[in-house]
Symmetry: C2
Subunit: 375 residues, 2 copies
């Protein structure tokens, strides 16, 4: 007899962009100049004070397990950050330092791992089509109308991946109230907080203590490869989160946690502000340039580093378009298919995680590619 | 309505030793001298060449995501290590760099996270009582007699936690053959390989390509706080493992992977050999000393850094005994309850992760404690 894969493995999709990324690397090795607009990773290095804190810890040689819930000093710094940044008061015990994140019931389009996490735990994610009119965000009315007897909770992300949109404070508040009234858990993915180019993003904790907040040092703080994030749980879930942390991670990488202690230092925050301004300039450039060459962008992205652009004018198959574009021009973008089913074939995600000069070059190549298809 | 915890959360046990550890730390803060024999973490620092490799990577500032399956150079080094160490040939694609481990169907006593992992994925772990006569290891006959229609696989660990025993090569081979014949997956937890004081431990891959091998840089290589391990999967499972890695970890901490590149360097291996000799001396001391004061140790441990000692002569409640011992003498040990149900109340686990002088002091305190109870 042969060992079999669990049935739920067939529900778990790979990232479609991975095949494209592999091809892009192959072309690069052949000497082609590839412009990477497919990657959700900032191009900036980790800020110097964070690097210094990590080096200092490792140099001691004592890179040992930390408590499962994380380094106490880091949990305290996060508590202080929530007080300063959002004016909310949380207990240190609610903060768990993590090497990852988690999921529920969510917008389409959204980050694909969320669905896959649900399948992994035998959950059934329910993707709810969202529209530009609602900032591509779930509303209380949608939550109410889609709620079923076995529904467990709601996940929102703001700023969102792939659309870069924010949820309005009043919409967030009513979504939390609606979910709570239905007896569900509310999860707020806030990993792109800080990377906003108009108004500040609201934190779910500003409206309720009974929410789960998922955040990370990866994006805004420039610490992708360090693998460190955090989760804030409602007081009643502290014991359960503690048990899960003990069993799932044992602990998060020690040097990464010590490095993260420097993430909230004034000199780090100054550097991050310079980067935010640079991201804003890239957003402005790409938002305008893509529209000038014929892409439709229904709503101006206000955060993260993504533009979710409609390419229906050029193709009914954005997946094929992305592959053809890569082969013909060396510009790599992510097809909508990676983020859900709702009109996914008409969308491409552009990540502005590369300098403006390269974005300009990418737009020129795109224009030539589009002109070539017309002819 | 109130949000509820998933029913399976109630199956997931915390580590009982955690409460004891918390109390030990409290006593330490009050100025008491605590001897830690409860901790499964080597007292040695990370070897210098590994530290240097980690520092060098971080100093570049480019601490970015690696591929989900891990740094290609590290996967290659692991392939070479299996060739040298065990004479087995695996493909680089079978090796996945991980920040953690995973579980199935297992011996009692065993490492408690394994059961909890099964519950988390809605599995039902079946603990099979094992005896000293079988080196506290599962046999092919036990696997066959306990197999049920819905059984999925078998997990063995050698050297084992908490018993420190090895599985004999012929027993391992027949366990693999039996599991394969039943159509199950075979998981071999080899995280204590290298820490052996008599014969070498066998690797499951020496008997079959169709096994899952779980290993880690934590214990033998002294890299606990770096959070980096590896998983070797049968060729047919490469695609599935790749999807899971993309979704669950995204990637393992980058600096930890670069640091691990130095784990197989000759100067690292020389240092690890010195440490292994020191662990062997501690094992010899503690094995004899515990028996001299009345503990029964049915089988001499051959690996890891644990002794699983029967304390039935002193108590029928090793959990209470461990708490009383800590309060009275400041010696912290782990109660059997953390490793299963089979006679757990008659056992204590002693970790020799502390120098011999401290082990001597601990044994003296233990003897006084026992004498005091008799009187």
């Amino acid at each position: 007899m042969e060992a079999k894969l669990a049935r739920r493995m067939s529900c778990i999709s790979p990232f479609y962009v991975m095949a494209l990324l592999a091809r892009a690397k192959e072309l690069e090795q052949q000497g082609r100049d590839i412009i990477h607009l497919e990657i959700g990773e900032p191009d900036f290095p980790t800020p110097a004070p964070i690097i210094a804190a990590g080096l200092e810890q490792i140099a001691t040689g004592q890179v040992k397990y930390t408590p499962a819930a994380g380094l106490p000093a880091l949990r305290e710094k996060i508590v202080a950050f929530y007080q300063t940044q959002y004016g909310v008061c949380i207990a240190k015990e609610q903060v768990f330092i993590t090497p990852g994140a988690s999921g529920a019931f969510m917008a389409d389009p959204c980050y694909p791992c969320n669905s896959n996490f649900s399948y992994l735990f035998n959950g059934q994610p329910q993707l709810i089509p969202v529209t530009a009119a609602d900032d591509y965000q779930l509303t209380a009315a949608q939550i109410q109308s889609h709620w079923q007897a076995h529904s467990k909770g709601v996940l929102i992300a703001s700023p969102a991946n792939p659309t870069g949109t924010l949820i309005k404070p009043a919409v967030l508040e009513s979504a939390i109230d609606q979910t709570t009234a239905l007896g569900g858990c509310f999860f707020s993915d806030e990993i792109y907080h800080g990377l906003v180019y108009g108004q500040q993003a609201s934190c779910a904790l500003q409206f309720s203590q009974e929410v789960f907040v998922i955040n990370s040092f990866s994006k805004y703080f420039g610490m992708t490869g360090w693998r460190v994030g955090w989760l804030i749980v409602p007081p009643a879930f502290i014991g359960a989160a503690e048990k899960l942390a003990q069993n799932i991670f044992i602990s998060t990488a020690t040097a990464s946690q010590y490095a993260a202690l420097a993430a909230f230092a004034p000199e780090t925050l100054q550097e991050l502000e310079r980067r935010r301004i640079e991201f804003a300039a890239r957003r402005d450039f790409l938002y305008q340039a893509l529209q000038e060459i014929g892409f439709k962008i229904a709503i101006k992205p206000e955060g993260a580093f993504y533009i979710y652009a409609n390419c229906q004018q050029f193709t009914d198959d954005s997946f094929q378009f992305a592959h053809d574009l890569l082969e013909a021009t060396g510009v790599a973008v992510t097809p909508g298919k990676d983020f859900g089913q709702h009109n996914a074939q008409h969308y491409l995600r552009f990540a502005y995680t590369t300098p403006i000069a390269r974005l300009q070059e990418a737009v020129q190549r795109l224009q030539q590619f589009i002109n070539g298809r017309k002819g």
